[in-house]
Amino acid sequence: MKILVPLKRVADPDNANKVKIPASGATIETTGLEWKPNPFDEYALEAALRLTEDGKAPKVRAGEVVVVTFGPKETETTLRAALATGADRAIRVDAADDKLDGHLVARALKALVEREKPDLVLMGKQAVDGDSNQVGQILAEQLDYPMATFAATMKEEAGGLLVGREVDGGVITLRVKFPAVVTVDLRIVAPTSVYSMKTAPAFKYNDGVRFAALPAIMAAKKKPLAEVKLADLAADQGLRVTYHGFQAPPARKAGIKVKDVTDLVNRLKNEAKAL
């Protein structure tokens, strides 16, 4: 099985207070930010690795995972980390961060999918910076592929996947035929969430994403990392989303201490109007 996993780097969500907006409000200051791979994309990569190995220790690769990111040269760090974690090959689409939107990324990914012909595009349900939650859906529409979003479980079967999605009050199971687009939710990295046809039914993974092994980090330098120009994938680089201004969220007011339960109920009723 061949899987394409798009990855995006995001400003470290644990250090959100480092994000600065200049007084003009025209942009977000990105110097000095610490970058991390988008967590949902890491879950997608973990799921892709699980689908392309035999689930035995030591794990043997049985498929190909290609990771792709859009951005300037320094985003190759994100790709190297993915290669060190186990991806087989990487592609960087050279682009400026602020000249991209979800629609353009989806259009460029479509061209890339047509070149690479993966069985599956596996991606995070959304990036935790803009929280747009749209690239997977737009891509599936553009490719006219079957799609499953917010996957919590995946089981490979001949020519496709059974995808479990958690919804209010239960789980919906979808059968998607390859080639397909699937976006994942955080439960996809639970110990028994993903089974390829080679994984033993009793096999359990460690909870969460795997850590890059130190020899693999050193070997990652030798794995192929190709650069593609955005113009080669998207003739029209027009944006559908334009930003009109940025504003920091208002500073939170300090909390108050209440005397007792009566006081609490009183304030909830009369001040917060929550009751």
């Binding site: 969460g208 850590f211 092994a213 130190l214």
Partner: protein, 394 residues
């Protein structure tokens, strides 16, 4: 007055500009492992005197065990990569780092360095995979700083040796499958000392746990009791004789400890900065008080110096090599400052500083062991003093 975002230690030291892409990735990977798998359990493991054996397969899979060795299933990291990995582990807990140091530098390294080809093939791949856990038996109840005074004996007997004696303070001995034990052969002096690989299951080999430690509680420490243990000749390490065999192992481990200790110091520093910025006394955050700032500034200075020194000697170790005296300098300095930083940090946290809820008291207590093992602080002073003056003061 406007309050700014604090400058991080990483940005202050700016060591990143001196690291390769792989070195940074290795640091990030181990840091994440510690943050996600170890730290959530760190206080409980310490409180309950438990070592998380369930993490061993994951640590092995990451290539950390014997990570600086080449071949035999080991990762072959350079000294900076290995040092950074140890530093991140010790930012979790000195016990976690001790486990890795003992496995790699004190149990695997002597086999790799002094062992026969058969011995290496037999043990090293399984030790790198975490399937065989090793320990290192040098110290005895009556011989610590002066290991030449050891009493443990190996009596030549037919085609093997019979070992008798007691080793004390042995990290990982309660969970080990094998022990590299140093013993004097027949009734010889220190020049007769040999290393033996004693395997669990050999008759007369026992490893009672030392309980009641107030330090390194998450690292199992025990004795090695050797009661007429018959060890076949093929378990003796053939390529070294005398005390220098054991001391060679210590030189390896000590250098890793010099890196590791700064991880514990950094954890204390970070804990203190965030605490001091939040904690209000006399109408303002204690971080705005000059006495507190002085302590914080001094912590950062010492960590920066230790880090840059460690990096310098690590690069040197990989190019032209470093001497045991230089290793003593690194161990004494970095462990000493780490302990001072932990104590100072403990004070800044006030009453909260004695709670396991914060990492500081745990690191502080752990570092007391790190200060004593692998050559006490004083022993390293004497090694330096001897080298610098030409006079032996032991």
């Amino acid at each position: 007055m406007a309050v700014n975002e604090p400058l991080s230690l990483d940005d202050l030291i700016a060591i990143d500009s001196l690291l390769s892409e792989e070195e940074k990735l290795i640091r990030a990977s181990v840091r994440r492992f510690v943050r996600e798998r170890y730290l959530p359990r760190s206080a409980e493991l310490f409180a309950k005197e438990q070592f998380p054996t369930d993490l061993i397969p994951m640590i092995a899979e990451m290539g950390i065990l014997g990570g600086s060795l080449k071949g035999y299933g080991c990762a072959g990291m350079n000294s900076v990569e290995y040092g950074l990995a140890l530093q991140e582990l010790e930012a979790g807990d000195s016990g976690l780092r001790s486990f890795v140091s003992v496995q790699g530098s004190l149990a695997m390294w002597p086999i790799w360095k002094y062992g026969s080809e058969e011995q290496k093939q037999r043990w090293l791949p399984k030790m790198a995979a975490g399937e065989i856990i090793g320990c290192f038996g040098l110290t005895e109840p009556d011989a610590g700083s002066d290991p030449a005074a050891m009493k443990t004996r190996a009596r030549k007997d037919g085609d093997g040796y019979v070992l008798t004696g007691t080793k004390m303070w042995i990290t990982s001995s309660p969970i080990a499958h094998l022990a590299v034990v140093w013993a004097k052969v027949d009734d010889g002096d220190a020049s007769s000392i040999r290393g033996f690989v004693v395997e669990r299951g050999m008759k007369g080999f026992e490893t009672p746990t030392v309980h009641g430690k107030m330090s390194l509680r998450a690292s199992p420490t025990g004795e090695i009791v050797l009661n007429e243990v018959r060890v076949p000749a093929e378990n003796m390490l053939p390529n070294v004789q005398g005390l220098k065999g054991a001391l060679g192992c210590l030189t390896q481990a000590r250098f890793g400890i010099a890196w590791g200790a700064l991880g514990a110091a950094r954890a204390c520093f970070e804990s203190v900065v965030s605490y001091a910025r939040e904690r209000v006394a006399f109408g303002g955050p204690i971080a705005a008080k000059q006495l507190v700032q002085q302590k914080i500034a001094e912590m950062a200075m010492e960590i920066a110096k230790g880090q840059i020194m460690g990096l310098h000697y690590a690069r040197l170790k990989d190019s032209t090599g470093i001497t045991p005296v230089q290793v003593s300098l690194c161990k004494k300095n970095n462990v000493g400052v780490a302990l001072e930083i932990a104590r100072s940090a403990r004070g800044i946290l006030g009453g909260n500083g004695i709670l396991l809820e914060y990492p500081v008291i745990r690191h502080m207590l752990n570092l007391e062991s790190v200060y004593t093992y692998e050559g006490t602080d004083e022993v390293h002073t004497l090694i330096l003093g001897n080298a610098l003056t030409g006079h032996n003061a032991f």
